[in-house]
Amino acid sequence: MNQQELNNKLQEIKDKLIAVEQKADNRVELVCEAENSVAVNRFLLADVGARFVIATGIDAEDCFEVIYHYSYDGTGCVINIKALIRDRQNPSIESITPLVTAAEWIEREIHDILGIDFANHPNLKRLILNDDWPEGVYPLRKDVSAADAKEAQK
């Protein structure tokens, strides 16, 4: 698949997306609601054959975002799936670990530092935070300063 064919292929999942943004020649972003994230991830893994790189969790103030980064190594294209989690009180999204083993650690990490729940994750134990870290303090949220995080560690 060359880049043009890849771009055409990505149109197939369009009905699950809010937007498709072509950021550069080989940088594509697919924006979707949290409930469609598994379908879009499955499409990239199974139908496109992209390689899972990592995911980024972001506290975007009006919502939480989980960005799944994929690489299509045939063209060096980075495809980002930006899943928007609108519920700020109980942020939750379906886990993609059952689809791709490599996502296990990063979902645990995002769960630790942003407090996003990954439903159906096979092993949602702490990865980053200490065992004695207080419940409910999520250090990467914008309302937690570096000083707060240090305090929580005491």
Binding site: R51, I54, G76, V78, T101, A102, P139
Partner: protein
């Protein structure tokens, strides 16, 4: 061993101070065979991503070069490429070549470091001492260019901090000739050694399918027949203008990973030579005024695999989010696939084959159910070396033949 009270646990870790993450491997063993593995990380979580949100864009290269002392060229490079993508900046030609030279010198020293340590683990201390001896001039070259042996911090948004001085070029070329000959000798000695074949082949196999499932990168992936390399796939710096090959092996065992690293060292030497020959003139950096709002990703092939940075800017002078993924974050979980079913004597080597970091093995300990220490690091090292010795005796092999003649 269904009786839980007699289940033995092999604890590897947790201290691991040289790497971006400390690691604790809890191996369940049945006799001498590993039956399960549990990994815990983050004993030395430094909150780099959070700290980064409080620093200005031009300060962050110094922060991220400290993520890992060994990969201190690739992290800043991936970071500045992400910022350059946000801001639409193209660094000058000379900067792209200088970045390539620094990153390939880093790969040469890192791969030689690995070869030496792998030799140490199996009782080939000659390999250890020699590989490290040949690595030393590479660090001297890096120091001559950047001012530091490690933590070079030589890139900045829009270019490089320090140039490769013209008067240093003859010295670099001379050192490369010497390193190439020495590495050739080392490679030939290792690849021709029947004991090493017997000791490393079929050990710690990561199958191609497992490599894909765990999405591993770098020599760990390329040793299992997954030919990915962002230097070629998503060419950055000057890699697209150089003539080089991606090295792959298909077996997925420790031997394959060793072969990949050794052969890659030659590719890196070739690349540095060509980059020096083609080094264009001109400035090494462009002026950067403001980083506009937006998102960008930067990737660089570190010695251990793809380093990935994601940056989001809101138009201020600090990023609102900076995500860092070091290659070991995806390589380490693959131990689950490569260690189970292995002999304890092979575990140190299998863990080392991924090239995470070695300090952890100083803390290796085997305890039984009453927490009584049965094996410590030294006795495990002993086990590994005894196995090598046993194979040597069976083969009637005198040992590695190394000739260290001075090369003019």
């Amino acid at each position: 061993m269904s009786d839980n009270t007699r289940k033995s646990v092999l604890a590897v870790g947790p201290f691991h101070p040289l790497q971006e993450e400390m690691e604790f491997f809890q191996l369940t063993v049945d006799g001498e065979t590993v039956t399960d593995i549990d990994v815990r990380i983050s004993y030395n979580h430094r909150g780099i991503e959070k700290i980064s949100e409080s620093l200005q864009f031009d300060q962050i290269p110094y922060l991220v070069s400290r993520i890992c002392g060994i990969c201190s060229a690739s992290h800043p490079l991936a970071y500045v490429q992400a910022v350059e993508e946000v801001a639409g900046i193209t660094p000058p030609d000379r900067a792209r070549f200088v970045r390539t030279i620094i990153n390939e010198l880093e790969r040469i020293h890192s791969h030689l470091l690995w070869v030496g340590l792998a030799g140490h683990f199996i009782g080939y201390d000659t390999v250890f001492m020699w590989a490290w001896k040949y690595r030393e001039p590479v660090l001297d070259l890096l120091e001559a260019i950047t001012g530091n042996r490690n933590n070079y911090g030589n890139v900045r948004v829009g270019g490089c901090r320090e140039d490769v001085p013209d008067e240093l070029i003859p010295k670099i070329e001379k050192e490369l000739d010497i390193i190439e000959k020495k590495t050739e000798m080392l490679t030939k000695a290792i690849l021709d050694d029947p004991v090493l074949h017997a000791r490393l082949k079929g050990v710690g196999i990561l199958t191609r399918q497992d490599a894909l499932d765990y999405a591993v990168v770098g020599p760990t992936a390329r040793g299992s027949g997954v030919g990915i390399d962002v230097r070629r796939d998503d060419a950055y710096a000057a890699y697209g203008e150089l003539d080089w090959d991606v090295i792959t092996q298909t077996e997925g065992d420790v031997f394959s990973k060793a072969v990949v690293r050794l052969l890659e060292t030659f590719e890196s030497i070739k690349m540095v030579r060509e980059a020096i020959r083609k080094l264009p003139g001109g400035p090494i950096a462009v002026e950067v005024k403001q980083i506009p709002p937006g998102e960008g990703v930067g990737r660089a092939e570190a010695p251990r695999g793809e380093t990935f940075h994601y940056i989001r800017s809101d138009g201020g002078n600090r990023p609102v989010r900076h995500k860092v993924r070091a290659p070991s974050f995806v390589n380490v979980p693959s131990f689950k696939a490569s260690c189970i079913g292995q002999n304890i004597a092979d575990v140190t080597l299998t863990l080392a084959a991924v090239d995470p970091c070695y300090s952890c093995t100083e803390r290796i300990a085997v305890v039984d159910s009453h927490n009584k220490l049965t094996h410590d690091y030294n006795s495990l090292l002993q086990l590994s070396r005894q196995k090598t010795q046993r194979i040597q005796n069976e083969l009637g092999w005198a040992g590695l033949k190394l000739e260290d003649k001075e090369i003019g």
